[in-house]
């Protein structure tokens, strides 16, 4: 199954992320020049929290920060489908 998914950011930017490459959503956003928020890049500070308005993500590292419904932590997840996020 293809691991290449579309990520729509703030309803405007659209980027393509290959989840099999091991890059996190945060890294994908950075590569697209979107300057996402981050601190620890390790799933425990919660600074990279973004709203996940459509689609699903998979966590490649177990996050320690509480993930409120409708949010995801960009530093430790990859898309599991086409997704839409607000940051």
């Amino acid at each position: 199954m293809s691991q290449v998914f579309k990520v729509k950011v703030n309803g405007q930017h659209e980027l393509t992320v290959d989840a099999s490459q091991g890059n996190t959503l945060l890294e994908a956003l950075e590569q697209a020049g979107l300057e996402p928020h981050y601190h620890c890049r390790n799933g425990f500070c919660g600074a990279c929290r973004v709203q996940l308005t459509a689609g699903d993500v998979t966590y490649i590292n177990d996050p320690l920060a509480f993930i409120r419904p409708g949010d995801c932590l960009a530093c430790c997840c990859v898309p599991a489908s086409d997704i839409e996020i607000n940051q």
Partner: protein
Amino acid sequence: MSYSTFNKNQINPLKEPMFFGNSVNVARYDQQKHSVFEKLIEKQISFFWRPEEVDVSRDRVDFQALTESEKHIFISNLKYQTLLDSVQGRSPNIALLPIVSIPELETWIETWSFFETIHSRSYTHILRNLFTDPSEVFEDIVINEEIQKRANDISKYYDDLIFYTQLWQTHGEGEWEVDGAKHIVNMRELKKKLFLCINSVNALEAVRFYVSFACTFAFAERDLMEGNSKIIRLIARDENLHLVSTQQIINLWQYGQDDPEMKEIAEELREEALQIFMNAVEQEKQWAHYLFRNGSMIGLNEEMLCQYVEYIANMRMEAIGFDAPFKQRSNPLPWMNKYLVSDNVQVAPQEAEITSYLVGQIDSEVSASDLGDFEL
């Protein structure tokens, strides 16, 4: 009611709320109600460090070369952080251990407080290096008005919870008179005090450290006081973890994943919790004003610091379900991030890249092919 260090009743910790249930008896972690606290313990312990491992000897030379206003900024921040960690090194233990009801959270609280004591010891390590006799700096912490203003807000919710818990544990629920003042003690009141206390601690861990962190890292950006900055990076990494734990507690309550009464209280006291946070933000801005009253430092001024406080506060408040109250959505001090990335934290001078100690690490998986070219 009265606290027992080993509750003899058979209890099922999986059915206990985080606080104000039966007191914990067996410290067991094979089954967990909220497994995140066990993960936090593991993470925190993997972060173990000792202040003495960080060489701060060059800082003394750097410090002598700072301007008077820069010295004021540097020392005042250390005083404030010393206050914060003095409180945090004891208060979670004293306030929360008597009322905690699940073993993984009990052990997290102890681990958390222990790390705050490492922070306290590291301030002495830094100051002993800068001054032959650092007493004057420490003594000023209980005299300095600016620090006193903050100390009151930081400790009052803890003190209130501790006092009411003591009344409850010695006298039970009811109306009690102590030193001429009447106190109504019932479970609802106790839980309200707990809720406000955790919100106050959360605000402390969320924003109160960041003005001083920013100043420290601004010095480091100029290659000044680098030993101090290495220590503060380790402290910042720990504080992030502590913050996550208070955010977890607040969210577990809000989403009804723990004590249902705490969910009601979270809704009832939402405005008060918001006010606690906003007061902390306001106090930090005033602190920035106090720091820069004699002049600013290269790369940082009062306005930028206040913007950073707002930026951080937005992020932290959204994490516990408040709307971001400030306009500052972009990071005004982008260089801060490189000091806050956990993978860049230098644990010891010779270890530039690893995040955590791996003590006694042994590769226990050996296959026959690993010995393939081994001949007798």
